[in-house]
C-alpha cells in the first residue's frame, strides 16, 4: 500500500485569467497582469492619490462562469469565495472527481487565506462610517468570515470530511498543501481539495498594505536592480491531492507528486525575513522529499520584489545549494500575477508544476539588470528546461515559512 501523495487536478484564477490554460498561455508568452488600478473612491477622496499598480481578476466574468454552472444557492459570495469556487471547480473537474463517492466522506478541504472577505467588510464599514447608516447586510459575517471559502466548497461539492481554512499570511496555501499532504500520508483522508484564495484589492486593505511601506509604485521587479517593492494581486489556486492508491484505483491521470514539505517559524521579527528560518524550511522540504540539493530543480522563489526580502532569499538559496545553485533554474512569477497573499503559494505551485510538464520556465518579468546581492540563475525569458522537480518557497510576514517539493509524473 502506498500513501504517496499524487496530484490529479489543478485550477486557478488571477489577473492572468480564468483557468490554468489561459494562465499558462500568458505566462509562456511572457505576459504580465500588473496594470494601473483606479479606485472607486470619490475623485476628491485622499485615497485617490494612491492609485496603484495591481493585478486584479475579472470578477464579472468569474460570476458569469459560475452562474452558467447552475449551482445550488450559497448565499452572498464575497470575491474571496467566488475565486475559491472558480479554481476549486476547475481542479475537481480536471481530476475527474465531480460527483465521485470519495468526495462525501474521504475528502478534506483546506484553503489558505491571508484575510477574510475584504469587499464585504469594506462595504459594511462604508455604510457605518461614511454614510452613517445603522444596519449592514445580514450576511456580512457569513460572507466575510475567513473560513467561508472552505465552507462554500464543501457545500458545493457535498464534502463532509475535515474542512477548514489555514492562515499564515503569505505562506497560507503552502501550509495548507503541506498539512493536507500529511493528512493523506497518515490515512486520515484519501483526497484533499487544497489551495488558497485572496481578494484584498479593496481600498481598506490596500491602504493598510501601502502603509507598511513595501509597495512598489511602478511594478514588481524580483531580484532586479531598482526594484521598489511588491505589487498586490488577487485570485485563487486549488489542487486535488490523492493517495497514489486512490488515484490508481479509479484510473485517474497522475500529473505528479507532492513529495515534500518543510515549515519553520523564524520567531525573530514580525516583518523582516530571517535567513536561518528560511534555510531551515528549504532543507526540511528537501529531506522530506528525499531530494538531494544537487538535483537540478525549478526553484519558484517567494520573490516579492522588495528591497529587503529578495537578498535574504538569494542568500538562503546560496547557503542551501552552494555551487550546485547554477544547475537550477530560478523563477519569480509574482512579477506576472502579483502577490496573491494567502493564495500565492498555491498559485506558484500550480504554475511550477505546469512549467515542469511543459518543459518551459516562465520568465521573471520587469527585470532591469542584475543586483549583485541577488545573484541567481534567473530565467529572464521563456527558457526550455528538463527538470523533474519543483521547489516552491513561501516566506510570510510574522516569520512563517513553508516550502513545497513537487515532482512530475515519470
Amino acid at each position: 500500500m502506498s500513501r504517496k501523495v499524487v496530484l490529479t487536478g489543478f485550477g486557478c484564477v488571477s489577473g492572468l485569467g480564468i483557468g490554468l490554460a489561459e494562465t499558462w498561455r500568458r505566462l509562456a508568452a511572457g505576459e504580465g497582469a500588473i496594470r494601473p488600478l483606479l479606485r472607486e473612491a470619490p475623485p476628491d477622496h485622499p485615497a485617490r492619490r494612491m492609485d496603484c499598480p495591481a493585478a486584479w481578476v475579472d470578477a464579472g466574468a468569474c460570476r458569469a462562469a459560475l452562474a452558467a454552472e447552475d449551482l445550488r444557492p450559497m448565499g452572498q459570495l464575497d470575491p474571496l469565495s467566488l475565486y475559491a469556487l472558480t479554481a476549486g471547480l476547475e481542479a475537481v473537474e480536471a481530476a475527474g472527481l465531480r460527483g465521485h463517492a470519495s468526495l462525501e466522506r474521504r475528502t478534506a478541504i483546506l484553503v489558505g487565506c491571508g484575510s477574510g472577505g475584504n469587499t464585504t467588510i469594506d462595504q459594511a464599514f462604508e455604510r457605518l462610517y461614511a454614510r452613517e447608516l445603522a444596519k449592514v447586510h445580514p450576511q456580512t459575517i457569513p460572507s466575510s468570515m475567513m473560513s467561508a471559502p472552505a465552507s462554500h466548497l464543501a457545500l458545493l461539492l457535498g464534502c463532509h470530511g475535515p474542512t477548514f481554512v489555514i492562515s499564515s499570511a503569505c505562506a497560507s496555501s503552502a501550509h495548507a498543501l503541506g498539512e493536507a499532504m500529511h493528512m493523506i500520508r497518515s490515512g486520515r483522508v484519501d483526497v484533499a481539495l487544497v489551495g488558497g484564495s485572496e481578494a484584498c484589492l479593496t481600498l481598506g486593505s490596500w491602504v493598510a498594505w501601502n502603509s507598511v511601506g513595501v509597495m512598489a509604485e511602478d511594478t514588481c521587479r524580483p531580484f532586479s536592480q531598482e526594484r521598489k517593492g511588491m505589487v498586490l494581486g488577487e485570485g485563487a489556486a486549488m489542487v486535488v491531492l490523492e493517495s497514489e492508491d486512490h488515484a490508481r484505483a479509479r484510473g485517474a491521470k497522475v500529473l505528479g507528486e507532492l513529495a515534500g514539505y518543510g515549515s519553520s517559524s523564524d520567531a525573530a521579527d514580525m516583518t523582516a525575513p530571517d535567513l536561518h528560518g528560511i534555510t531551515a524550511a528549504i532543507r526540511m522540504a528537501h529531506e522530506d522529499a528525499g531530494l538531494a540539493p544537487e538535483e537540478p530543480a525549478l526553484i519558484s522563489t517567494h520573490g516579492t520584489g522588495t528591497r529587503i526580502n529578495d537578498p535574504v532569499e538569494a542568500a538562503a538559496l546560496h547557503a542551501v545549494y552552494g555551487p550546485a545553485l547554477s544547475g537550477h533554474t530560478v523563477i519569480a512569477t509574482k512579477s506576472a500575477h502579483g502577490h496573491l497573499i494567502g493564495a500565492t503559494a498555491a498559485m506558484e505551485f500550480v504554475i511550477g508544476m505546469e512549467a515542469l510538464a511543459r518543459g518551459v520556465a516562465p520568465p521573471v518579468l520587469n527585470h532591469l539588470g542584475p543586483d549583485p546581492e541577488c545573484d541567481l540563475p534567473l530565467a529572464l525569458r521563456p527558457e526550455p528546461i528538463d527538470h523533474r522537480v519543483l521547489v516552491s518557497n513561501s516566506f510570510a510576514f510574522g516569520g512563517l515559512n513553508a516550502v513545497l517539493v513537487g515532482r512530475i509524473a515519470p
Binding site: P73, M74, G75, Q76, K135, H137, P138, Q139, P142
Partner: protein
C-alpha cells in the same frame, strides 16, 4: 414612489440566489427553500432600496411571495 412587483421580485431573487422566474406568486418562502437569513437579507435590501422597513414578525415561512409583494407595495411611501 411606486414599487413595481418586478422590482420586488428582483430583490428576492438577488438575495436568495434563486431565478426570478422561480418565484411563483403562490409559492411560500418555505417551499422555495428561502431560509431565515435570506429572508433577513431580503428585508434589508427592500429597506435599502425602497425605504420600506418591514417588521420580520409580519412574515413567516408560510408567507407567500404574493403576500410579501403586497405588503411591500402597501408600505411603500407614495
Amino acid at each position: 414612489m411606486t414599487v413595481s412587483t418586478d422590482a420586488i421580485l428582483e430583490v428576492i431573487a438577488e438575495e436568495s440566489g434563486l431565478d426570478a422566474a422561480a418565484l411563483r406568486p403562490d409559492a411560500t418562502f418555505e417551499q422555495l427553500d428561502i431560509g431565515s437569513l435570506d429572508v433577513a437579507s431580503t428585508l434589508f435590501a427592500i429597506e435599502d432600496k425602497f425605504g420600506v422597513a418591514i417588521d420580520p414578525d409580519q412574515l413567516n415561512p408560510a408567507s407567500t411571495i404574493a403576500e410579501f409583494v403586497n405588503l411591500v407595495r402597501q408600505l411603500a411611501p407614495s
